[in-house]
Point group: C2
Chain length 318, copies 2
């Protein structure tokens, strides 16, 4: 691992023109890592283009350097090194294939990520921002507040505000270093967690009263209709995280979010705790996902789909 | 500061019978500090009674040692040292006055806390759990997973999951040490943040549809009536944190939660961002609090109180 890092440092030292990119639909770690590395390389005197096919999400536009990130590359742009960060798979980065003579470097913490001329993969890292931190330190860069802000945002985002089990000692040690450079943790946390569009809250205000808790208390659900969406002036992506409300109830082992997609289709999203496997349940419904987070598009009205799902859950939880 | 800590260590070394207590209506830091210090002193071979007038809140009962905490003290119990933690003021600890010969030691991070024969006050500490951590380390104790779990819970709770501005480098360094002892951060975070009583969620489902966002977008409110409380089978303390929902809307500078207390009284809770001073506003309404978090009991019905508050907010935010 250390050897790969050293090889990457050598590439950084000798190269001049860099492209830094990450995956489509970027989250806080994708953008935080991209901007942190971009700013860091610039401090080292390099020419750097930060790129993301989907640009910087609204809530991350407070990040230093975010206004310089481009969503299109000039046809004649040439790079010595392309960094692909946090992408899991090269296709998700939607960046051009590396040309002859261009070094492709992959920094990632997702299991199975194995592309690139140099691949620095460490699944024990809480965030790709931690890998960028290691790299910039190995390059001898003295980090400043702007770089720290970008990297801290990646770390905060991928650890779920230091709640997820990936919040390991290194994550906290890196946070201590970054915060020591002058970060106001509340400023970043409130940008990430306390700046919701009004439409989202107005949608949640309609969705939450649909809360259903099963008599056993083992599962709970909420639903959203297209009417609610229209009334709130909201978009389907505003429902991200709504399934966390039934999930947060004590005793609930499976949480379900029913989202009406059109007159005859319901998107059913599942979250489960511990060993309850909702991935298989979703597959049986024609969908997919993991053990604790999965979903499926199911034909029918809510009145048809919900009882069917509840029936399957009763069997699963028996 | 170091000198006081050393004096406290001397007391710990020479004393045998300890009482450890904290403030009424204890939060995660009060209980986490109490149990962390209790377990730590026991590891040092001391006899320790952990006490809190209100006992351990339901969501903190997962903590090691919580079942041994008592809510009443035997009339003939005698102690060499009484530790009062995180209390701000001695009266809030509701523990008996120290008898002749009993050493009263105050560990706190609240400004102005200055009682006790020995007072170890450090307002730069993110949590009282950090002060207990310093003390136990100064006593030469090698911390174990149980002590770490209690202290980490205090730290997580008082930093708002490392979001608040008090999340300083020391908070992260202490977290790194504690997590290194084997803590699963998700287990603790989900106990604190994902184990809500069903009644609370059912109450929130009624409160959230009352969301009002001012035309300017600068302030927003929700309200709770006694009818809602009854319908949800909930208690007033279940409304803790409800003011965070209007606060989380982008652009909102002041969030208000109106809670009906009885037929003719409304509790008005305020949260503000940045330099907006709701403390003074609350004082004008006969209440109190700080610049960014304050509240008042106001006579009248909701229909009377809300317009009055909105009027004051319009003036404040102009």
């Amino acid at each position: 691992m250390k050897q790969i890092l050293n090889k990457i440092v050598q590439q950084v030292v000798k190269a001049q023109r860099f492209l830094v990119c990450s995956h489509e639909s970027p989250d806080g770690d994708a953008i935080g890592s991209t901007l942190g590395l971009t700013l860091g390389l610039q401090r080292l005197g390099k020419e750097v283009v930060a790129y993301n096919v989907d640009g910087v999400p609204e809530i991350l536009k407070f990040l230093p350097g975010s206004q310089s990130l481009v969503t299109e590359l000039r046809a004649d742009a040439a790079f010595d090194v392309i960094f692909v960060l946090d992408a899991g798979d090269l296709s998700r980065a939607a960046c051009r294939p590396a040309e002859q003579g261009t070094m492709l470097i992959n920094l990632d913490h997702h299991p199975g990520s194995n592309f690139g001329h140099l691949c620095y993969l460490d699944t024990s890292a809480a965030a790709t921002a931690v890998l960028v931190y290691r790299l910039l330190c190995a390059c001898g860069l003295k980090l400043d507040l702007e770089v720290a802000t970008a990297l801290y945002t990646g770390l905060l985002s991928d650890t779920g505000s230091f709640r997820y089990a990936n919040s390991n000692p290194e994550a906290f040690r890196v946070a201590a270093e970054l915060v020591g450079l002058g970060i106001n943790t509340w400023t970043i946390a409130s940008a990430l967690y306390e700046s919701q569009p009004r439409e989202r809250m107005q949608l949640l205000a309609q969705v939450l009263p649909t809360l259903y808790v099963a008599p056993s208390g083992q599962y709970a659900s909420v639903f959203m209709t297209l009417d609610m969406l229209e009334k709130a002036g909201a978009a389907p992506e505003h429902t991200d995280g709504f399934v966390n409300y039934p999930r947060a109830i004590s005793g609930v082992e499976v949480a379900v979010f029913f989202r009406q997609v059109d007159a005859s289709t319901i998107k059913v999203g599942f979250r489960s705790r511990g060993n309850i496997d909702v991935g298989q349940l979703s597959k049986n419904l024609g969908g997919g996902g993991h053990k604790n987070a999965a979903g499926a598009f199911v034909e029918g009205s809510l009145d048809q789909v919900a009882p069917r799902v509840y029936h399957l859950l009763e069997a699963l939880l028996k």
